[in-house]
């Protein structure tokens, strides 16, 4: 039993690290390209979730890198359930791009699901809607508004 346990432990650890090393070695980042958009900086995020339950969303979106028309960053939100008053942190990575003229499309990886945000940028404000995978039979969806705080 003890031998089996040790074998199991060693096998599991080796598998994890070997696999991780293999896959990370295969990962290759695309070389950055000159930015064709100008979104870098901090944006104040104000939004609501209209379903499946009502939640006020406030926080910041930090755009940290740009390449061509795509960008990446981090979203740092606090959600307040408007029915119960409870709050919860909602944080995640963001990746998106500009689609069409002035249309900003990005995903925020929040609580292991991607929230798709699509909005229109006008000067330093992006206004739009977002939707995500269903939870409890209802799609998570709502609106958002981003205002640039700093460049």
């Amino acid at each position: 039993m003890r031998i089996a346990l040790k074998f199991f432990q060693k096998s599991a650890v080796l598998l994890v690290f070997a696999g991780a090393a293999l896959v990370s070695a295969c990962l290759k980042s695309t070389e950055p390209q000159p930015s064709l958009i100008d979104l870098m900086g901090t944006w104040n995020y104000v939004g609501v979730q209209t379903g499946p339950f009502r939640e006020d969303l406030t926080g910041t979106l930090e755009i940290t890198s740009e390449s061509g028309t795509s960008f990446q960053g981090q979203l740092n939100l606090t959600g307040r359930n408007t029915q119960t008053g409870e709050t919860r942190p909602l944080n995640g990575l963001v990746s998106g791009s500009e689609k069409g003229i002035g249309v900003i499309d990005f995903d925020a990886d929040i609580e292991s699901s991607l929230r798709r945000h699509v909005g229109q940028i006008v000067v330093d404000t992006i206004t739009g809607t977002w939707a995500g995978p269903p939870s409890g039979g209802s799609m998570a969806s709502g609106t958002f508004r981003l205002e640039r705080e700093s460049r």
């Binding site: 598998l15 991780a20 980042s29 950055p32 919860r88 798709r116 969806s141």
Partner: protein, 929 residues
């Protein structure tokens, strides 16, 4: 004058003799009397003068007898008439005559004295007796007899009588007595050997100084991990003096882990103040107060409130790490017959008459086996920046009619905000049993909402059987999620079926459409299929195929927003899960693709399609001592299109890890590195401690450095959080539960009679509550008063079983086997009857009318394997035998005394055959009677 001179001469002689006496016994020890003491009264005779000579010393242990040889003083060595009196001191005893007469002149120079050393004699040299020598004309010469009492170190550890029971997650008091049964003062320290994950609440236990004969009562408070399983736990208590272990005992604690707070204790009031510094260095404070637990029998309270707020994600995150959450005040009282909720409250009436309305008000839910009523009256919470609130009320009633259940509900619901909702609805529904063990539910409702009204309907077919279940639900709720429904239209199918002992298949499919104040159309559909195969007991492998599509069309009226967007995500994966003891390993890999479309108003549709592959693995150890896990996730998508691309995550985390060398402090920690989007990396470093202090106080500290939290200057600071918590267990409003005795029902009458002893340690249960009978057999158990109290027979000694209840007293009796020997009598002495008795049924019926069946353990033997004490009537069902037999009357009663196996014999008679003469007209054939 000459008389005094003579006395001095005798004294000088005594001095000389004492020197010899010492040399003949034992050397004089420091501290012992070496001086000759002379005392007299002015008018005393020579006998009245006492001269104390050097002592005689012997050694011995308490409770022993020592024979000490006392020399006759030289001054009296020639005296023919010497009297000796042995005078004991303290609790020392002298065996034999205390006074003796000696003729020293005959050469007897020594005197043997037997001294008994008392059990309570302290270690060290003690004067045990005096030998007083007198002779005519001589002063009294006193020779002290000292006993050097040897050191006896006996420290007794006595656990408190009776079982010790505790609820997982709570503290338990371990009482014990320490008695010094030795003869010296001891300084002992207690050492505890605790089960994994346990902790002592005493940070620095001080050594105990305990005098001989003294008994100290001590109580050690231990923290039991919340994850402890129900069962026995063992704590070894050792008493140490230096490196020596003087006593050690193993104490057994019965742990019960139920989802509810143990009924033996009242509500747990937890107050905490939390402080966190956000990414910009601003302080945030949050005060939380909660009370959870039983107020009294079957009535439970759950209340909470908070004051303060977190500004900024970092502080909110820190509060979550510390277990502090901002919430509106609420109070809920629940009992088996109902539930009352005040403050922030909410419920669901039905799919059509309102899901999840919440507000500030009251909720009352009355429950009865045949009916239940749910009612809500509340005001919606005002949105941020507004004071507008909307009233909400509703009521739902259900009643059982046979196997069918009818329901009706009416509601008026509304709230405020950017996307306000409203609903006025009235509905009726029913649930009826359907074929194959399923239940069919249906409801219709009139729904009126902001901007319209409609007739809603829903139906659902549900079957739950063993490990398999199926569900099909179809709902049409006009108004959709803006009118307190999940969606306007919904169809959902779930199935999970075990196809064999190793193979299980789960599948689901759904489609929803909705329209809200934000979206004109919000559609989603998806499906998944997951066959799972168990390779062996702990290892499963599963395939997973899933597809998910959503399309959202925004309303043009929303400023700056228009058009539509959608996502299609398809994945095919494989996963492996296994565990061995407390180690686990999970890994899954998925291949797939994601297509994203966006159709801005007035612009062409843009479609992106990208592979999305990922592999995630976690492995670790999980036990009552905490969780330690390594985790990895690698995800790869195309480097464009809005995906979180080429992201990899490697981490290690620990949660609730017990640090036994730090008095059971629990630690948490996390290291995580995330690589993504080009050269961008981020990392999380976090450490936290949960420190029990004293008197219910504890501290939690948390420090996190997370790349996601930047200050305005771009710096990534450490986010610090502190929570000071106090936990107070308050008593119940009244003594809870039902009490009684578990007793040995020696005469089997199911009543507790005088002389029938209790059964200590028996476990009784009522619903989910558990209690253990004390040393007298008495128990007290909480739980739902409508449920019966039963004995857990696994807690009884072998052979014992529950025999019945008399009100609250529960009888147990020793079951013994009994054999019934069946003997088939020959038919009228003509011939033996051969009958196979294998199908004979022998039944014993007790006084309460309960039946006990015997099994045929031999060709003619029916055996009752375990019959409780009592008197039984025997009944026979012989209808399945090939030959008609009847038991011979009278059938004896079976009396089981519980001491010996019982065996009785029953004669089975064949039915007699009577012959008639056909000619007499009364019958023409043999007839069995």
């Amino acid at each position: 004058m000459s008389r005094v001179a003579g006395l001095f001469v005798v004294a000088l002689c005594a001095l000389a003799s004492s020197a010899r006496a010492q040399s003949s016994v034992t050397p004089v020890q420091p501290g012992s009397s070496t001086a000759i003491m002379v005392s007299s009264t002015k008018s005393a005779s020579a006998r009245d003068i006492e001269i104390t000579l050097p002592s005689v010393t012997a050694s011995g242990a308490p409770r022993s007898y020592q024979v000490v040889s006392v020399p006759v003083p030289d001054a009296l060595s020639r005296s023919p008439d010497v009297e000796v009196e042995i005078v004991p001191r303290g609790q020392f005893v002298i065996l034999g005559p205390r006074t003796r007469a000696l003729d020293a002149g005959s050469g007897r120079k020594r005197l043997g004295v037997t001294i008994g050393i008392p059990a309570s004699a302290l270690a060290g040299r003690i004067v045990a007796a005096e030998a007083r020598f007198t002779s005519p004309g001589s002063p009294t010469l006193v020779v002290p007899v000292e006993i050097d009492v040897t050191l006896v170190r006996v420290v007794v550890l006595r656990p408190a009588a009776g079982p010790i029971n505790a609820q997982a997650g709570n503290d338990v008091i371990l009482p014990f007595d320490i008695a010094n049964a030795g003869n010296a003062i001891e300084t002992v320290s207690a050492s505890l050997a605790l089960p994994s994950g346990w902790a002592t609440r005493e940070m620095h236990p001080a050594p105990l100084v305990i005098a001989p004969g003294e008994t100290l009562k001590r109580r050690v408070r231990l923290k039991i991990p919340a994850l402890s399983a129900t069962g026995s736990a063992f704590v070894q208590v050792s008493l140490l003096v230096g490196a020596d272990t003087l006593a050690s005992e193993i104490m057994t604690i019965e742990i019960f882990n139920s989802s509810s707070i143990g009924s033996q204790s009242g509500p747990l009031v937890t107050s905490a103040i939390s402080h966190a510094v956000d990414e910009n260095g601003h302080g945030n404070q949050l005060f939380t107060l909660s009370a959870n637990g039983a107020l009294y029998d079957s009535v439970r309270i759950d209340a909470r409130m908070s004051q303060g707020a977190a500004f900024g994600g970092a502080a909110s995150n820190a509060f979550a790490r510390l277990g502090s959450y901002q919430s509106s005040a609420s109070l809920m009282l629940s009992a088996p017959s109902g539930q009352l909720s005040l403050g922030n409250t909410g419920t669901s009436f039905s799919d059509l008459t309102g899901l999840y309305p919440y507000g500030q008000g009251a909720l009352l839910h009355l429950q009865h086996p045949n009916w239940n009523v749910l009612s809500l009256g509340a005001m919606s919470l005002p949105p941020v920046g507004s004071t507008t609130r909307k009233p909400m009320f509703g009521i739902r009633g259900e009643r059982q009619f046979g196997s069918a259940q009818l329901s009706t509900s009416i509601s008026h619901l509304a709230d405020e905000g950017i996307s306000p909702r409203s609903l006025d609805a009235f509905g009726v529904g029913a649930a009826v049993p359907s074929p194959f063990g399923s239940t069919f539910k249906a409801e219709i409702a009139e729904r009126r909402f902001q901007g319209g009204s409609g007739f809603g309907w829903s139906s659902e077919l549900v079957r739950v059987a063993g490990q398999g279940n199926e569900q099909l639900r179809v709902t049409h709720a006009p108004g959709g999620s803006d009118a307190f429904a999940r969606a306007t239209n919904e169809i959902l199918a779930n199935i999970s079926e075990p196809l064999s002992s190793r193979l299980t298949v789960s599948a689901s499919a759904w489609r929803t459409t909705d329209a809200t104040s934000v979206f004109t159309g919000l559609k989603s559909n998806g499906l998944s299929l997951r066959p799972q195969y168990t390779l062996h007991g702990a290892t499963t492998i599963a395939l997973d195929a899933r597809s998910y599509v959503f399309d959202a069309a925004s309303r043009q009226t929303t400023p700056g927003v228009g058009g539509a967007f959608g996502t299609r995500d398809q994945q095919l994966g494989i996963s492996l899960s296994t565990y061995l003891r407390q180690y686990y390993f999970n890994s899954s890999a998925y291949l797939g693709n994601v297509a994203r479309t966006v159709s801005p108003s007035g612009q062409p549709t843009v479609t992106d399609r990208s592979p999305r592959n990922y592999w995630m693995t976690n492995a670790g150890w999980s036990g009552v001592g905490g969780v330690i896990e390594v985790q990895m996730r690698v995800e790869q998508t195309r480097d464009r299109g809005g995906f979180v691309n080429q992201q990899s995550l490697f981490g290690i985390r620990g949660e609730q890890v017990v640090l036994p060398w730090l008095s059971g402090i629990r630690a948490e920690g996390e290291l995580q590195r995330i690589n993504g989007f080009g050269n961008e990396t981020s990392a999380i470093m976090r450490a936290g401690l949960a420190i029990p202090v004293v008197n219910g106080f504890s501290l939690k500290v948390d420090a996190e450095r997370n790349s996601i939290f930047h200050s305005t200057s771009g710096r990534v600071p450490w986010i610090l959080g502190l929570r000071i918590e106090h936990v107070l267990m308050v008593p119940m409003l009244r003594t809870p539960g039902k009490s009684g005795y578990v007793f040995e029902d020696l005469n089997g009458n199911q009543r507790r009679d005088p002389g029938e002893p209790g059964v200590p340690g028996a476990i009784v249960r009522r619903g989910g509550e558990t209690a253990v009978a004390d040393a007298s057999g008495k128990y007290r158990v909480g739980g739902d008063f409508r449920q019966p109290v039963t004995i857990d027979e696994a807690s009884l000694p072998d052979g014992w079983s529950a025999s019945g209840a008399d009100h609250s007293d529960l009888g147990v009796s020793l079951s013994t086997s009994a054999e019934i020997e069946l003997v088939v009598a020959p038919r009228s002495g003509i011939a033996a009857v051969q009958v196979d008795l294998a199908k004979a049924h022998v039944i014993a019926r007790d006084d309460a009318g309960r039946e006990w069946g015997a099994i045929m353990t031999g060709p003619t033997t029916a055996t009752f394997q375990a019959l409780p004490i009592g008197t039984y009537k025997l009944e026979f069902d012989l209808s399945e035998l090939s030959e008609p037999l009847v038991p011979r009357l009278p059938i004896p009663v079976l009396i089981v005394t519980g001491k010996d196996s019982k065996s009785i014999t029953i004669i089975l008679d064949p039915r007699p055959i009577r012959m008639w003469n056909a000619a007499d007209g009364r019958g023409g054939s043999a007839q069995k009677k």
